[in-house]
């Protein structure tokens, strides 16, 4: 019998776990947030890992997606499905537009530039009443297609799962394509990629817009789920969390975003449970949260530079090959 690739086993296990979880878990809000984060972080991991561009303000595009849904459904009466489709498109178009000047920056400058973009999107949201103003937009209708309307949280979680699968599939196809190889070359050396015929500027812009589309999709879905959008819904800390998840999971790996999102979300949820015990001081929650974020980030970067997925993958491959030879990877 042919040896089964451990990677496929893991993917099947993840898929089964994902499908079972919505039916056995009590706290679906937590699961939903985790899935939304996984969608965003998959895009960020693509941007940071494959294209080598850091973004500290990915929340800006989540916000654009969420505002798109909020404005389209409450102000214009656009059907929910159409609004949800529009969310990633608008976010992607926005990223393509701001990306033209912004992507002239690199490294530290781009990191700070994206952070500045996030803060300016927040200001725009709280300044223009059309985008919600200081109070935000509430009363977003529940998601539904035709006659069926999502009555409780479970269908949202299932939809998010399906969209996460779609996002992973699209990412997989892109990374494996000719375009994807060009992108990876670009992360190594822009000059070398350029001289090998990779259209550097356009390629960076496409990946930037694609990661923004993922973020916009997650934002649009969260607007239906919450159902409320305000400037405070997208704090900078959340964008930093995406970076932490991407780094912990492993930049530039297909599954790194998902693994990072699951791991960091679960850890934070556990800490939340611990710190919300009534006899403990109320400041313990934020202390633990910040300490975990900082500690995780530093430990991951200093001791597991490539992230969890490549580290585990390497260990499994080594174990399999030790146990009797040619494990295909």
């Amino acid at each position: 019998m042919d040896r089964v690739n451990p990677r496929y086993v893991l993917v099947v296990v993840a898929a089964v776990a994902g499908c079972v979880a919505p039916f056995v878990m009590g706290d679906l809000t937590f699961l939903m947030r985790m899935l939304l984060a996984a969608i965003v972080v998959t895009g960020l991991s693509l941007l940071m890992g494959y294209a080598g561009q850091a973004s500290l303000g990915q929340g800006a595009f989540v916000a654009v997606g969420a505002v798109t849904v909020a404005v389209a459904t409450t102000r214009w009466g656009v059907p929910p499905l159409l609004a949800l489709v529009a969310a990633p498109l608008v976010a992607g178009a926005f990223a393509a537009l701001v990306g033209v000047p912004l992507l002239r920056l690199r490294g530290h400058y781009l990191a700070f530039g994206t952070l500045a973009l996030l803060l300016m999107v927040q200001t725009a949201m709280s300044t223009f009443d059309f985008l919600g103003g200081a109070f935000g937009i509430s009363g977003i209708p529940p998601f539904g297609v035709g006659g069926t309307v999502f009555a409780d949280q479970r269908p949202y979680v299932l939809l998010a799962l399906g969209l996460l699968a779609l996002v992973l599939f699209v990412t997989h196809r892109i990374v494996d394509s000719r375009f994807g190889r060009g992108i990876r070359a670009l992360a190594g050396s822009e000059t070398a990629a350029e001289s090998a015929g990779v259209p550097v500027v356009r390629a960076k812009l496409v990946i930037f817009a694609l990661s923004a589309m993922y973020a916009g999709l997650a934002g649009g879905l969260s607007a239906f789920f919450t159902p409320y959008v305000s400037p405070d819904s997208f704090p900078a800390l959340e964008s930093f969390t995406y970076v932490i998840m991407a780094v912990v999971g492993g930049l530039g790996t297909l599954w790194g975003g998902v693994v990072g999102a699951v791991l960091v979300s679960t850890l934070l949820q556990l800490l939340n449970l611990v710190s919300s015990q009534p006899q403990l001081p109320p400041t313990l929650g934020p202390i633990l949260q910040y300490a975990t974020y900082g500690g995780l980030l530093i430990l991951a970067l200093l001791f597991m530079r490539r992230g969890l997925v490549p580290a585990v993958e390497g260990a499994v491959t080594r174990a399999v090959s030790r146990r009797g030879g040619a494990g295909r990877t």
Binding site: A54, P101, A116, L301
Partner: protein, 284 residues
Amino acid sequence: MTELVAYLISGIALGSSFALIGSGIVVVHRVTRVVNFAQGSVAIVGGMASATLLDGRLPHGLGEIAAVLLSGVLGLVIGLLAIGRRGTPPLISLIVTLGASMLVSAAIIWLWGQDPVTPPGLRGSVTILGAEVERQRLLVVVATGVAFAALALFFSRSYLGKGLTASASNPFAARMVGIDVRKMGLLAFGLAGILGGLAGVLIAPSNPLSFYSDLPLVLGGFAAAVFGGLTSPLRTLLGGLCLGVAGQLTAGYLNGSYQTEMALLLMLVIMIIRSRALVQEEVK
């Protein structure tokens, strides 16, 4: 007219604090190519430590100096995390310092709570050209001027400062003549801690600081440092003053809540216009 003078002076005071934080970013970046995201957090610790020390423990002057030195130690610890491990690329070090700033935030909430803290400063105000100006704000301007003059002397005259400059301009050659470039990098982080702490001690009496202030502080400082291409302290000072004055004029004549956005917008415009030159400096 008095209105304009008041805006200009408070703008210069605000810009001075941007410049002080920016100078810390520049000092570290020159030597190590790392941007220290925790620079704002260090300033907060400086301000809060001075509040605690001045609260009946130490007299004015000593309390502030102790708080600044404490910030220097904190800066050194952050440096150990960021560049202590050999071969950490600068962009990864940036994210490490982001992690460090989160750890510092945790420590700030633990030690000082979540509410803003403000130490006692100079009281009262003086009248300049008809405009009422708080003494503390004047102190910020004067102290910033002294700090930048001292920094310039340190870099051009002292043996250590020359070592730092040498490591900055050509790490390889510096190593050849026996300068420990890594030690110089750590020294730069410590010096940046002192500058950040000084900024915090000076700002806190007129603008109460909380753990939440780290982002505005580090963004303001980075924006000022961008004017200096992240390498020139003098142009950082000018950049900080420009940003501060532009921010205060926006706040005064347009709308108070757009002050930070004005600074960010200016920063973005400068970065994008100068992107080619900045990239070249990065490569060099």
